[in-house]
């Protein structure tokens, strides 16, 4: 397989934008988190493509570690989701607006 590097980046950029769209448009905390996952995967795609482009191992290493970190973060995030659900019985992000100004 041989594809221009730019095309891989274009896919990644599109994916990133989709993830960002999800973050911005959705109001439910879980969906916002899913949007973040999409963004992270876009980053992974760039890393892997660049790794291939530069013929290096570093990019792939970064992806592996990124996955692990994401896992850790998701664990905490989901625990937080459960905690919030218990408190307020809602996961709509904008409902948590006790402080402002």
């Amino acid at each position: 397989m041989m594809i221009p590097f730019g095309h891989a980046l274009a896919f990644a950029a599109a994916l990133f934008i989709l993830g960002l769209t999800c973050v911005l448009l959705r109001r439910q905390i879980l969906m916002i988190l899913i949007g973040v996952e999409i963004m992270l995967n876009a980053a992974s795609l760039v890393f892997v493509a660049a790794s291939a482009y530069w013929r290096q191992v570093d990019g792939q290493v970064f992806v592996i570690l990124l996955m692990a970190i994401t896992a850790a973060e998701v664990a905490v995030a989901l625990a937080m989701v459960v905690y919030l659900w218990r408190r307020k019985r809602t996961l709509v992000a904008d409902e948590f607006n006790g402080m402002h100004g």
């Binding site: 590097f5 980046l9 990644a12 990133f16 993830g19 960002l20 973050v23 905390i29 916002i32 988190l33 949007g35 973040v36 963004m39 992270l40 876009a42 980053a43 992974s44 760039v46 890393f47 493509a49 660049a50 482009y53 530069w54 290096q56 570093d58 990019g59 290493v61 970064f62 570690l65 990124l66 970190i69 850790a72 973060e73 905490v76 995030a77 937080m80 905690y83 919030l84 408190r87 992000a93 948590f96 607006n97 006790g98 402080m99 402002h100 100004g101």
Partner: protein, 472 residues
């Protein structure tokens, strides 16, 4: 990972393993005092280790530096962690939080901050950043009895997650354009136009900047700051305001010193960010009626000013920024320590109404708070002034007159809101209710911060000389 690396990493290892050990002990032994004492001791030992044990190499595993600069910040954050724990003692005991978990998280965050300040590799940077951010996610929301804490935790977490997304994508782009994650190379290869992918790399730097901007709350990524400061308990807020921001700035300073020319392309963007940030913070604080929110906005202004120092691509600027970070960290911690020391069953005093006339009940701490606020504002004779002076000096030297003028305007506005609080404290009409008398550790932290504010204000040479020798 060789033995040399481990030795060089010793202070961080002490913090991380000490934290883990206290976590383990805490699982069986729930008495908070010894755990806290252990935590404080660990942090202090870490600081001592960083100061006393010379690193066998200047580099750790290609990811982090173990040079003087890194060590300096390691000491600073370790001390900060110790101070944070001292301030948190009463809070933990009164709220019956798990001391083991809390202590270990703080130590773990300190380790992360120390690593971040010494990162020389984008992977190290990313990991260290994630490390202490994760700890803060938990710490902020750790008081599960508090509605606001939960909200603050959620806001910080979601924003943080999105920032992580930006960060990862940005680093990926940098990597794509330069083919390396090691910092000097990553920056250098871009200017050398290796492969001509420079623009992607620039975009990557921009994205990293957004993520960093979130962490140190640059406008317009600062919106979470007041909410989180308000919601988070003061001991955590203190760490968040000082360590988490300071470490990121320290990392930026490190990166900048390693990655000189690439920032050249980002100058106008940084200029804009700095200007907007200074203004947004100062103006936002004007209408506040809550001290913690006010401190949040003030931190925004300060970060903008810091950015001005960073913009100056010379050692003057770097030294000024470093000085500023240290001073800001100390001062800010002092402010939060005062707030924490006044907390009682009714919670922390936050709304202005609760502060009105407090100077008549607690004159010493009120006076200290006034001093700290004035230092934040930049009154000559306090450390805050020397910091601002250094930054403005560097900025003028680099020709950023516009930024300096904006900074001056922001400073004037800042004086307005700091002084309003200062006045409030000594208004005679409605004497405030008695608050908590504070404990010895809290007083100690407040005293040390006050002393530092004065000493660094009157004799800044001590710190400047140190920084001058440490700068990479």
């Amino acid at each position: 990972m060789s033995l040399i690396d481990l030795l060089a990493l010793l202070p961080v290892l002490i913090l991380a393993f000490g934290g883990t050990a206290i976590l383990m002990v805490g699982a069986w032994y729930r008495e908070p005092r010894p755990l806290l004492a252990g935590g404080i001791a660990t942090a202090l030992i870490g600081a001592v280790a960083a100061g006393m044990v010379p690193p066998p190499s200047l580099e750790i595993a290609g990811l982090f530096s173990a040079g003087g600069y890194a060590r300096f910040f390691t000491i600073l954050w370790a001390l900060l962690a110790a101070a944070g724990l001292m301030v948190a003692t009463r809070y933990i005991m009164e709220k019956r939080l798990g001391a083991g978990e809390y202590v270990s998280l703080v130590l773990y965050a300190a380790a992360g901050m120390a690593l971040l300040s010494s990162a020389t590799h984008l992977l190290g940077l990313f990991l260290a950043l994630e490390t202490f951010t994760l700890a803060f996610y938990i710490l902020i929301a750790s008081n599960r009895r508090c509605e606001m804490a939960a909200e603050a935790g959620l806001k910080y977490l979601l924003m943080g997650a999105v920032a992580t997304g930006f960060m990862a994508f940005g680093i990926a782009l940098i990597y794509a354009s330069s083919g390396t994650l090691a910092l000097p190379d990553a920056a250098l290869r871009m200017t050398a136009a290796a492969g001509g992918l420079q623009p992607w790399g620039l975009l990557g730097w921009g994205l990293v900047l957004i993520a960093v901007g979130f962490k140190i709350s640059l406008a317009p990524f600062h919106l979470w700051t007041p909410d989180v400061y308000q919601g988070a308990p003061a001991p955590v807020g203190g760490l968040l305001a000082t360590g988490s921001k300071g470490a990121v700035v320290a990392a930026l300073v490190g990166m900048l010193s390693l990655a000189g020319p690439v920032w050249h392309d980002l100058v106008d963007l940084l200029w804009l960010l700095a200007a907007v940030t200074m203004l947004a913070g100062a103006l936002g604080a004007l209408g506040q009626k809550n001290l913690k929110r006010l401190l949040a906005y003030s931190s925004v202004t300060h970060m903008g000013t810091l950015l001005v120092g960073l913009l100056c691509q010379n050692t003057e600027g770097l030294a000024a920024t470093t000085f500023y970070v240290v001073v800001y960290a100390i001062t800010s911690l002092g402010a939060f320590a005062v707030i924490a020391s006044l907390a009682d069953q009714r919670g922390e005093p936050m709304a202005f109404d609760e502060w009105r006339g407090l100077g008549y009940r607690h004159p010493v701490r009120s006076a200290v708070l006034v001093l700290i606020l004035l230092s934040l504002a930049g009154l000559p004779g306090t450390a805050g002034f020397m910091a601002k002076f250094a930054v403005f000096q560097a900025a003028l030297q680099s020709g950023y007159l516009g930024l300096v003028l904006i900074g001056v305007f922001a400073s004037v506005v800042s004086f307005a809101f700091y002084l309003r609080v200062a006045m409030l404290l000594f208004q005679p009409e409605a004497p405030a209710v008695q608050r908590h008398a504070g404990t010895a550790p809290e007083h100690a932290v407040v005293a040390v911060c006050t002393a530092a504010v004065l000493v660094f204000g009157l004799f800044p040479g001590i710190l400047f000389d140190l920084i001058g020798r440490l700068l990479p």
